[in-house]
């Protein structure tokens, strides 16, 4: 089976600093991979590279069949589901407005929005501007978007941070479903996480994969 992610000696640079200093990695479809490493190990940079948000400065790589050196990064961005630290798109919009805006942009039916908010337990705060939501609620909002989006590749940056017990259970259940239905998940965390959805753990340090 063709891997979803295939990187060889991938380098990402920002301001003359190598965020990734040569990553070689392969990820098969329908798997859950956890990137583990200390702060500054390059977890976020690697996720951003996979999402088409960073440029490949050196090395080779392909994600979802798109060559990172040649393809328009915009084509890749549209195909991934991204969970970042902020959780929302625009802080001044409410949770529901954010999701509707995003759903319209990618041609997803608007009816999915309320069901997704229900699923992550945000229905009571659906009309609140997201800048008033707590960090955990923002994570839930980001998950709701991923449920609406149903991307081929889910990229989750520190999804477990700020989530309560209940939220972690919800996330795990969701990730298991995604992997089972053919999606691929790549998530990051500073410490190893026990989760039924995680099938492989990749350790990063100094912008590289270490054994």
């Amino acid at each position: 089976m063709t891997p979803v992610v295939a990187l060889r000696d991938a380098v990402v640079v920002a301001g003359g600093f190598p965020l990734l200093a040569g990553v070689t990695l392969e990820i098969a479809p329908g798997t859950g991979t956890l990137l583990v490493g200390a702060n500054g190990a390059g977890k976020t940079s690697l996720l951003r590279l996979l999402g088409g948000l960073e440029r490949l400065a050196a090395g080779e790589g392909s994600v979802l069949g798109l060559d990172l050196r040649r393809a328009d990064r915009r084509d890749l961005r549209r195909r991934v589901g991204w969970l970042g630290h902020d959780g929302s798109f625009y802080d001044d919009l409410s949770a529901r407005e954010n999701l509707r805006f995003a759903a319209d942009a990618l041609g997803r039916p608007r009816e999915l929005v309320d069901a997704a908010l229900e699923r992550v337990g945000l229905t009571p705060r659906a009309a609140t501007p997201t800048r008033r939501l707590s960090a955990g609620q923002r994570r839930r909002l980001a998950l709701a978007w991923l449920v609406v989006r149903r991307a081929e590749l889910w990229l989750l940056d520190e999804p477990y941070a700020a989530l309560d017990e209940d939220g972690r259970a919800l996330l795990d259940e969701l990730l298991v479903d995604v992997v089972a239905s053919g999606g691929t998940v790549v998530a990051s965390a500073h410490d190893p996480v026990r989760s039924p959805a995680i099938t492989a753990t990749v350790r990063l340090a100094g912008g590289r994969v270490v054994p």
Binding site: L53, R74, W82, F89, Y90, D91, D92, A105
Partner: protein, 219 residues
């Protein structure tokens, strides 16, 4: 493209409606700038110098800087940039939408400050009404230009403070053309060839935005 533009414009106006930044920060700034202009001219000249149209446009150009900065700032948050990028919106549509929203905002502010010009700087109400189509067109061109220059200065580091330096040279012909046609209206004359500059600038900025906004977004 048009559909995306509509959604983005609605989103920007909704954000403005929620945050009221323009109402509470930009409009008072504009009103104060107009008052300062009157103070700088002195009581005798402020009411009779015919400087109203010029000062009006000077203040509107400054207001445009603030409003464009705000419009660009909405997209500037690190989280916003990453997550919006994964929506794959058509950049031309985003540009048109943001320009449209900024244009609507400038029209609203322009109306308030136009009333201020008539009241404080004694510009004839009739002149302001006659000049209103040209003002609307000039403000639209300023909105398109401001959106483009705002996107140029989005990003990490010190880029945001560069907006005035980059935008003001581009605003200068609009200031001249707008002032001339407003003054001509005040003098009861035709606004003739100044329309050409305003319209050409509007078309050029819209076209440049449609073609180049994507290049900026990707960077």
């Amino acid at each position: 493209m048009i559909r995306v533009a509509g959604r983005v414009a609605r989103k920007d106006l909704l954000i403005e409606w929620r945050s009221r930044v323009l109402l509470w920060q930009v409009v008072p700034f504009g009103a104060m700038a107009l008052l300062l202009a009157g103070l700088a001219l002195g009581p005798t000249r402020a009411g009779s110098s015919g400087a109203g149209p010029g000062l009006y446009y000077l203040v509107m150009v400054l207001v445009t800087l603030l409003a464009a900065q705000r419009s660009a700032q909405v997209e500037r948050g690190a989280g916003t940039r990453a997550s919006v990028a994964t929506l794959g919106l058509d950049p031309a549509g985003v540009f048109l939408g943001k320009a449209l929203a900024l244009c609507v905002e400038l029209w609203a502010i322009g109306l308030v400050l136009g009333a201020g010009t008539v009241l404080f700087l004694h510009t004839a109400l009739r002149a302001a009404l006659v000049a209103s189509p040209s003002i609307a067109a000039t403000l639209a061109a300023l909105a398109a230009a401001g959106t483009l220059y705002g996107a140029l200065t989005t990003g990490d580091g010190s880029a945001a403070t560069l907006l005035p330096v980059l935008a003001l040279p581009g605003f200068s012909p609009l200031l001249i053309a707008g002032e001339r046609s407003f003054s001509a209206a005040a003098a009861g004359g035709a606004t003739g060839s100044w329309w050409v500059i305003t319209l050409v600038a509007l078309v050029v900025y819209l076209a440049a935005g449609v073609v180049l906004y994507g290049v900026l977004e990707d960077a």
